[in-house]
């Protein structure tokens, strides 16, 4: 193991400069090393713990409407608010000791700033403890240690012990992130309705390594979905304005012809869209359009078109990227 680690110089480790031995100041500064496996493998468990914390947080906010005579018990799930950017909100609304800096009035509920990270913290404590043990053992016996030997009991022990101490072992055991859980359930129900006697296969957790037919099928489906979502065929005449005057209409048609998509014939396409509305959607400056006989000529970015007769297209943004640039090859 050490041979491999020493002779391969691949960036899958973290290295730390450390002072050379005191008695030999001429010795080259050596490095302490930590394999990425020692970070990632406990890390996925710690990440799971954090997601479990979030799961519990929303679980506790669920409202249950008790069953009435004509309806079953309804569980009202709380609305999810993405946590992106919440950390900075928290920073600006709370004092350094975590005290809220404003009086919350009960009228409208404020979106949560953060959530209790019990298990996450517990697993971090376990991780640090394991790391300290590794370092201690390494230092005293002066021998490289496999960190996982200490990190695994630290992380796992802290997680399961916390669950036992809080009496949430069953929640923890049942918590699952199996992909498309809800969709699958729906499908199952649908299958039942159709009288489809599909034997209920054991909930297939797709393995990281196996590439089954089902997975391939899934991939295909996902691709289809992605296609619908990411690449929308243009309805050709949509944003061609009615302001097309005589002189430009011919040119516009050409642009439309070249840059439009026929979704049922599309083989390859690549497009760049600007974040703002362009002043002249889907136009080519005159000089360019005279030359543009073939589609691939569109590829040349009209970056030096400032001499063109359409002065306003020379704005910085539109010069950087050709408006609605689309390339198509068949």
């Amino acid at each position: 193991m050490v041979t491999v680690a020493k002779s391969l110089d691949v960036p899958i480790k973290l290295v730390f400069p450390r002072p050379g031995p005191v008695d030999d100041p001429t010795a080259k500064a050596s490095h302490a090393m930590l394999g990425l496996g020692d970070v990632v493998l406990p890390g996925i468990m710690i990440g799971l713990a954090l997601r479990f914390d979030l799961f519990l947080f929303y679980l506790r906010r669920q409202k249950r409407r008790p069953a009435t005579t004509d309806s079953e018990e309804v569980v009202e799930k709380p609305k999810y608010h993405s946590l992106a950017g919440r950390w900075s909100d928290h920073f600006w609304t709370h004092s350094l000791s975590g005290h809220q800096l404003f009086a919350s009035n009960d009228g409208r509920s404020e979106q949560p700033f953060t959530f209790p990270k019990t298990y996450f913290k517990a697993s971090l404590v376990g991780y640090v403890t394991g790391m300290l043990a590794t370092l201690g053992v390494m230092h005293i016996w002066g021998h490289a240690q496999p960190a996982l030997l200490y990190l695994v009991p630290g992380v796992l022990g802290s997680l399961w012990l916390t669950a036992i101490a809080r009496g949430e072992l069953s929640f923890m055991w049942d918590f699952s992130e199996a992909i498309e859980e809800e969709d699958e359930q729906k499908e199952k129900e649908k299958g039942k309705e159709d009288g489809d006697v599909k034997p209920k296969a054991a909930p297939e957790r797709s393995s990281f390594f196996s590439l089954s037919d089902k997975k391939a099928q899934d991939r295909e489906d996902r691709m289809k979905k992605a296609l619908g979502k990411h690449v929308h065929a243009d309805s050709d005449s949509e944003d061609e304005g009615e302001e097309a005057t005589d002189g430009t209409s011919e040119k516009r048609n050409k642009v439309k012809e070249v840059a439009g998509h026929k979704s049922n014939r599309e083989v390859f396409s690549f497009s760049i869209e600007a974040p703002w509305k362009l002043k002249h959607p889907r136009t080519v400056s005159q000089k360019e359009s005279r030359r543009a006989q073939a589609a691939d000529e569109l590829e040349q970015s009209p970056s030096n078109e400032s001499t063109s007769s359409r002065p306003s297209t020379a704005r910085q943004e539109s010069a950087a990227e050709p408006p609605g640039k689309r390339v198509r090859t068949h």
């Binding site: 960036p11 973290l14 690549f270 974040p275």
Partner: protein, 299 residues
């Protein structure tokens, strides 16, 4: 008097070890912090809507009362799927790790010079390094930006919601009585800084800056359909990542660049992989634990 002397010896030994250890303490602190950083960041970046929360209403724009610019910020939030690990992986993973390690070991013995292998592997990792490091830097910039321009802040006992479209911050909760809208984009006590009109508009524009994302669409028949959004931070992140990886592979391998790539890899991996259940995760880690023991005592 054996007992005290034993204790004294133990204590003396501990003190001795500690003085031995002292010059190493900064290194160890560095190591622990560096290991915690990607875990902390990656774990938080991997957060998505849990199943205990309601599914988002489909295609329904939030009505305007939700602090204005939030809709534009959350707009492109897509649920990313994580690669699930199954219990079988608990057996497979250590096996694969062992096989890879043994394979590499014999390959090195056989090649005698690991230079070629190094090149191949480095190329492979360089490719992933560019992606993961650019993602790490982009996210770091996003967080830095949101720290300067948060959505909500407290000032004088009142909570303000910042509305990017109206370019003002409205008091919504707490002590809102004699409070009016604030036109400065800066949060908290910084809002008291007087700003000229031009400067204020510039800052508002800067606040909206990361949202200006270019859309790249790529479609290859039956093979690939994808969309990438790249904002200014993405550009910076990609540039820095390319430069860092190029420097790392072509010029020198200083420790901080190695660590940067390591951070990138672990940050990405933590967002991609999930053990799906605690049982599976424990099984995988347990298997690796025994695998480690095996390696320690038999090699």
């Amino acid at each position: 008097m054996d007992e005290p002397s034993l204790w004294a010896r133990v204590l003396g030994r501990a003190a001795y070890e500690f003085t031995q250890m002292q010059p190493m303490l900064p290194t160890y602190a560095h190591l622990i912090v560096s290991a915690l950083f990607p875990i902390y960041a990656g774990a938080h970046a991997s957060l998505t809507r849990p199943t205990s929360a309601a599914k988002p209403a489909k295609k329904k724009r939030k009505s305007g009362d939700h602090g204005g610019d939030e809709s534009s910020d959350d707009e492109e939030e897509e649920e990313h799927k994580m690669e699930g690990l199954a219990p079988t992986d608990a057996i497979m993973m250590p096996l694969f790790a062992g096989m890879t390690l043994a394979g590499l070991y014999f390959l090195i013995r056989w090649l005698e010079d690991p230079a070629l292998l190094n090149k191949l592997l480095n190329g492979y990792f360089a490719l992933f390094g560019v992606f993961s490091v650019s993602r790490l830097i982009t996210d770091a910039l996003d967080i830095g930006h949101s720290l300067v321009f948060p959505h909500r802040y407290a000032l004088g006992g009142a909570l303000y919601h910042v509305n990017g479209k109206e370019k003002e911050a409205l008091p919504v909760a707490g002590n809102t009585k004699d409070k009016t809208a604030i036109t400065s984009p800066l949060p908290g006590f910084l809002a008291r800084i007087p700003l000229s009109n031009g400067l204020r508009n510039m800052l508002w524009a800067d606040r909206a800056m990361p949202g200006n994302k270019w859309t790249l669409r790529l479609y290859l028949h039956r093979l690939f359909a994808g969309k990438i959004l790249i904002g200014p931070h993405g550009f910076v992140g990609a540039t820095v990542a390319v430069l860092a990886v190029a420097y790392f592979n072509l010029v020198d391998k200083p420790w901080y660049l190695t660590n940067l790539m390591g951070f990138g890899f672990s940050y990405g991996a933590l967002q991609l992989m999930s053990p799906t259940t605690f049982a599976t995760g424990s099984l995988i880690l347990g298997a690796l634990f025994f695998y480690d023991i095996y390696f320690v005592f038999y090699t």
